[in-house]
């Protein structure tokens, strides 16, 4: 077991808190991409609190691992994680979406400490992650690049163009994590534009591919540690997740891709998430 009991307890509590924060910010901001933020919380919790080599006091630390949120509309989720991890004051979250705030729906890397690169247009993060991984090779650095992509996002040709390049250049310092929550805006991925057999596609594109429950911290931790041992090819952790995870009235409902929350609904959401 890669996680100690204490770690597991700590991360589970942390994930709940992050989910409650996402609900709060969605309420304050008038609207945010809540569904896809909730689905990736467990993944981000493990990365940001256990695996990423980062220094919140020095976001530009050269040796840091890079984290790229390719599905950049998860900005509210990412912002909550970055502030909780100490990259900026949590008070900033209250101004999410407001004019003059450093935080909007899609995080701006020039404004948000810890945000590695500006994303939000689908299919832009993975190509940049490939570039960062190649950069480490050129510079003889041993940083790793972690990149979270969406499943709907993987309709984009640029995702597969980047995948080809990652395999071609044997980027074993690149760990791609797919938030396979089965939904995009217009409905289930398999209704809108079918992706299956998705794991086979990644394998065919040259990725070492592991299928994981994206809400099971132990499985996730085990998979990430396995990823660190893979040589000469990029790795894909295909994470089965639930969009809106943790909030009973959102789970699996495509209508909660983006939305606002009244104070009453914020409370309902937080109750469902629990302490």
């Amino acid at each position: 077991m890669p996680l100690t009991d204490q770690e597991r307890q700590e991360f589970e509590a942390l994930a709940k808190q992050l989910r409650r924060d996402i609900a709060d910010v969605t309420g304050w901001s008038g609207g945010a991409h809540i569904g896809g933020s909730m689905s990736m919380v467990d993944i981000l919790t493990l990365l940001y609190w256990k695996y990423l080599k980062i220094d919140p006091a020095n976001p530009a630390w050269e040796e840091r691992d890079r984290f790229v949120l390719s599905k950049g509309h998860g900005g509210v989720g990412h912002a909550v994680v970055l502030s909780q991890r100490g990259f900026f004051d949590k008070e900033e979250l209250r101004k999410f979406n407001e004019t003059g705030s450093m935080l909007g729906m899609h995080l701006d890397s020039l404004k948000v400490p810890g945000c590695e690169t500006s994303t939000g247009s689908m299919g832009h993060g993975l190509p940049q992650a490939v570039g960062m991984a190649l950069g480490a090779r050129v510079l003889h650095k041993d940083w790793r690049v972690y990149c979270v992509i969406g499943d709907g996002e993987s309709n984009e040709g640029s995702i597969w163009e980047a995948a080809m390049a990652a395999a071609h250049y044997k980027l074993d310092n690149l760990i791609v994590i797919q938030d396979r929550n089965h939904l995009m805006i217009d409905g289930p991925t398999e209704d809108v534009m079918s992706l299956e057999p998705l794991a086979d596609k990644w394998r065919a594109f040259g990725f070492e591919t592991r299928e994981v429950n994206g809400h099971d911290l132990d499985q996730l931790a085990e998979a990430i540690e396995y990823a660190h041992t893979v040589k000469d090819k990029p790795i894909m952790l295909l994470c089965d997740t639930v969009k809106g995870k943790g909030v009973d009235f959102m789970e699996g409902d495509p209508a909660w891709h983006y939305g606002g929350l009244s104070q009453e609904l914020v409370e309902k959401a937080k109750q469902s998430i629990g302490e």
Binding site: T99, M105, D108, S118, G120, S121, G152, N155, D186
Partner: protein, 339 residues
Amino acid sequence: MAKTESTVTWTVYDADKMTQREIYGIVLKDLGAQYPEIVGLSADLAKSTKIGTFGDAYPDRFFNLGIAEQNLLGVAAGLAKAGLTPFVSTFSVFASARACEFLRTDICYQQLNVKVIATHGGISFGSGGATHHATEDYAVVRAFPHLTVVVPADAIETAKAVKACLDITGPVYIRIGRGFEPNINTSEDYDFEIGKAIEMREGTDLTIIAAGNTVFHAVQAADILKQDNDVSVRVLNMHTLKPLDEEAIMKAVTETRRIITVEDHNVINGLGTAVADVIAASGKGCAFTKLGVPDTFCPHGYPEDLMNLYNIDTDGIVAKVGELLNREFEEDEDWEDEV
């Protein structure tokens, strides 16, 4: 060719309760009943752009390509080649930038009959930030040969533009907003012709040329200036950026001698540049200035705040008119003869 008519018409009563996008969806659905050759396409934005209203009514004539905008425009080109009339909807930034070359080379180069209805134009997706703003689309698509470029002023005009674009055999790009923009027209009972500017207010001291959501603010500014300062401001709704109504521009040059353009777009290569080209080529003296987004990526924020920041709302226009009225410039010698 007979003008395309739809059985649905709009008044401000409906329009005030509906966004440009919603009205677009309903009009397209209605046109779909009359024109079996119309097909619809989107890229996981059927709901967001409202082309889904058409899609729900005609599931066999609607294709959701998933989040893949290059393929979206390419497939539309193929459907047009097959003899159909594709309507394509996604956000403006993706239609004009992500799928740019597919629009240019597949659709415009081959003069294909594809109608791109691009939503969330300009800075209308305020808090979405620069990744979701489209402040360069006029610049890009205006430069594509054969493409007609239309920017309706409001929801009612969107209905008219969507119908009118069917009278053109060839590619059309219609840019609309996110939908929370106020209406300026009160009913569909006015002449709308692609390529012909609409004089929203008569005036002799200065002309404001606006397009899209800035028309509302230009008209408000003109009314304020009339009332408070007795300044006579002409307002042109330049809903078609291409082909441009050069006649209306030259009439404004000779009759008012001062022109301000206002656009929800980068000041580079948009409406203002198009108007400036006409003025410069004419050789006439004219006090001229452009209001628009300066050459920058806009920050996150509420659209009304961003419009205020860049002086493309009523207040900004009023201030600019005051400034331009006092600007000295060299008049043409033969000017009096022309007026």
